[in-house]
């Protein structure tokens, strides 16, 4: 069936090749460039360059490109929450909210207003429909798999989406881009949080709130240094503590094991094997189940506690608000605020926000 598919064109190689795949499949393809961040006062944001790249790609592929300004939505529904989480000393992942609220909501609405039957993006993930139930699968290129970032989508969002390159490897995508004469075929993959990009994270955050330095302490309360502000550190962090250890020193390096928010203190422990860095139990809130329902406990579920972490077998229990996860073996550096994402084999079934971690059953 010939559908009108509107693709979110970022200026990168993935969405460009995705558009070409859609064209080959016979769809009527149009592209939209989303502007999510107002870069006027910064020199770092690359939106203008990305737009030019998107324009070139669309010219090569002979598809129309339009723009939509979603900066207001992004600010209200993604960035504000990111800031709140930072202030609370947690480790947020705005790209997950960006997918749920912007790309697969505000952009989806815009595309439908323009008459799209479906939207598409260049995500490395796959969608399979079985008995009118839409499943989100890992991308075929396991190194690139982006299902982690898509786990908050619901059935409606997934049913209206296409991921044209989900079954391709990055190498093949780049090769296709080159064959298509796309000028961005070797453009660097974007890294980091989109609105921060390559800029200095500390300087960026400092613009948005006051940051209070405080003490770095050992577990016994001994003060061994000063931190620049709790929000700059994440659990399991080793670099940038300034408390010795590490390169060229005999002493084992120090790691962030905890943040004591009320006291503005950062707790560190020595050595990567320190037990305080490992936990078996996680409490997760606001869990989204892609199918709409929590899974049947009986089948083998694995979880990722951050993007690119291993899938680790776990058991789940639920109460009316939260999900409780138990890992067989302790996991390193479980960070409150990060998303824990559940899989059944290569199917992403959902996930939630890590609230607390511990070594005993907290259900």
């Amino acid at each position: 069936m010939k559908e009108t598919v509107i693709i979110g064109m970022s200026g990168g190689v993935d969405s460009a090749v995705a558009a070409s795949v859609l064209k080959d499949q016979g769809h009527n393809v149009e592209a939209v460039f989303m502007k999510n961040w107002d870069e006027d006062d910064t020199e770092f944001c690359t939106a203008a360059q990305d737009y030019k790249d998107a324009l070139q790609a669309c010219d090569t592929l002979n598809i129309p490109l339009r723009s939509v300004d979603l900066t207001k939505d992004y600010w209200e529904k993604v960035f504000k929450i990111f800031l709140e989480e930072c202030k609370a000393g947690r480790t947020p992942n705005p790209d997950i909210l960006c997918n749920k609220e912007i790309k697969f909501k505000a952009f989806l609405d815009f595309a439908f207003e323009l008459g799209a039957n479906k939207i598409a993006t260049g995500h490395y993930s796959m969608i399979v429909e079985k008995d009118q139930l839409y499943q989100l699968k890992k991308g075929k290129d396991i190194n690139k798999d982006q299902s982690y970032f898509l786990h908050r989508l619901d059935q409606f969002q997934i049913s209206k989406s296409i991921f044209p390159i989900g079954d391709l490897s990055k190498d093949i995508v780049r090769k296709k881009a080159k064959d298509l004469d796309l000028l961005n075929y070797d453009k660097k993959d974007s890294t980091g949080i989109c609105f921060i990009g390559e800029r200095n994270y500390k300087n960026f955050l400092r613009k948005f709130f006051d940051v209070y330095p405080g003490e770095i302490i050992k577990e016994n309360g001994e003060v061994i240094g000063e931190h620049d502000g709790l929000m700059y550190y994440t659990y399991g962090q080793r670099q940038g503590l300034g408390v010795g250890g590490g390169h060229g020193k005999k002493e084992a390096p120090w790691y962030v094991s905890d943040k004591i928010i009320d006291e503005n203190r950062l707790v560190v422990v020595q050595g990567q094997d320190h037990p305080s860095l490992y936990h078996t139990h996680v409490k997760a809130s606001n869990v989204n189940w892609i199918s709409g329902d929590a899974p049947n406990e009986d089948f083998g579920i694995t979880a990722k506690i951050r993007y690119r972490s291993n899938d680790t077998p776990c058991k789940l229990e639920h109460d009316s608000k939260n999900t409780f996860i138990e890992f067989e073996n302790p996991k390193f550096a479980i960070a409150p605020g990060q998303s824990i994402v559940f899989y059944a084999g290569d199917t992403c079934i959902g996930g939630g926000y890590i609230e607390t971690r511990s070594n005993k059953n907290i259900s």
Binding site: F33, K35, D40, A47, A48, D50, Y51, P64, L65, R66, S67, V68, D69, F110, E113, L114, G115
Partner: protein
């Protein structure tokens, strides 16, 4: 493509295009060179200067070529930082080529005051009188606004300023070709022009200066343009602008008549077929229509018109092609919703009634 975005830019006139090609082919010599071909280049540049001067009732030595309207504005405005007096007044609906420049100039210790506009987009002259101080060194008000077409009372403003001996600059890039521009009648001190707004080439403009002694340099280099604008002359651009200006002088009345007819026809059809549309009626440039479709989003409308191969505009686009609520539409009192449902349709000399019919038919389908 059916083109209704002449306020953004105009298609180059075929005669101008031909001329530019000939100049580029035959007259490459530097106008500052004294041998025969150099002298020919000089003559062509000076002829163009006269053509531009004639189009606005100036004399040729009052015309300085620049890279466009933006540079012409910058040229005048940056002189402020060299003045003893440190206060300047602009309108709240200036193009960024004025308003943003002033924002930058503020950081050099210059104070900027803004005259607001009424709901027709016309500056409130009574405010001007209150804003004038002993320190005021320049007033800059555009001749006609680029988004809503509102024509500003430049002559009246100058009459007021005359008493205080304050010079007046006007950005007239939207005006020439659509309304009469006569520097003597307006009595302005500085006036900016841009060739591509009146069927000339891009990258060339001019600044009219009543009295050369009042003008310093912005771009410093060789002795071109009487020493106030360095850089080897853009000969083909200048000659293209000169011819485009001459075509304005010859044809403007005819063009205006056509623009008014198209506008009248369009608005009549809108009233009949699109009764919910709101036309922001102003004493406007002929053929420039600002029109809102409440409940619709202008970027969706634009995309659908684009599919039908129709080019219109919906406010000032930034580098990544996005649309923000227009500050000009805000200034005339539109809510953000209505603001973002607004299209700017700007007709040109070559548009026809048939094209307007197609626009109406398409709008009916998509609104």
């Amino acid at each position: 493509m059916i083109y209704f975005d002449h306020s953004a830019t105009t298609p180059i006139h075929p005669d101008v295009l031909k001329k530019i090609h000939e100049v580029n082919r035959d007259f490459f010599a530097n106008p500052s060179s004294i041998y025969k071909t150099g002298r020919k280049s000089r003559l062509l540049v000076e002829k163009a200067r006269t053509q531009v001067a004639n189009a606005i009732g100036a004399s040729s030595e009052q015309i300085y070529f620049s890279s466009g309207g933006t540079e012409a504005n910058n040229h005048v405005l940056w002189q402020i930082i060299k003045q003893e007096k440190k206060h300047v007044i602009i309108s709240e609906i200036e193009h960024p080529a004025v308003s943003k420049v002033l924002k930058e100039i503020e950081t050099y210790g210059i104070e900027v005051s803004t005259i607001s506009v009424n709901d027709q987009g016309v500056v409130k002259i009574e405010e001007l009188i209150d804003l004038i101080k002993d320190e005021t060194t320049l007033v800059s008000v555009m001749m006609a606004n680029n988004e809503i077409g509102a024509i500003q009372p430049i002559k009246k403003i100058k009459q007021i300023l005359k008493k205080y001996e304050i010079p007046l600059h006007t950005d007239a890039v939207q005006a020439l070709g659509k309304i009469k521009v006569d520097v003597k009648e307006l009595d302005v001190d500085y006036l900016s022009l841009s060739a591509h707004k009146f069927y000339g080439p891009k990258g060339i403009g001019a600044l009219y200066v009543k009295d050369k002694d009042d003008l310093g340099s912005l771009i410093i280099g060789g002795n071109q343009e009487s020493g106030v604008r360095g850089g080897t002359e853009n000969i083909s651009g200048i000659i293209g602008m000169g011819l485009a200006a001459e075509l304005v002088t010859k044809n403007q009345d005819k063009w205006i008549k056509n623009l008014k007819e198209l506008e009248g026809y369009f608005l009549e059809k809108v009233e009949h077929h699109l009764p919910h549309a709101i036309h922001h009626k102003t004493d406007n440039l002929p053929g420039l229509i600002s029109i809102s479709f409440p409940g619709k989003k202008s970027n969706i409308l634009m995309a659908k018109l684009d599919r039908a191969n129709i080019a219109v505009s919906n406010g000032p686009a930034c580098s990544s092609g996005n649309i923000q609520p227009s500050s000009v539409l805000k200034a005339i009192g539109l809510s953000d919703d209505v603001n973002l449902s607004t299209l700017r349709i700007s007709f040109g000399k070559n548009n026809t009634i048939e094209e307007v019919d197609y626009l109406i038919k398409t709008l009916k389908e998509i609104v």
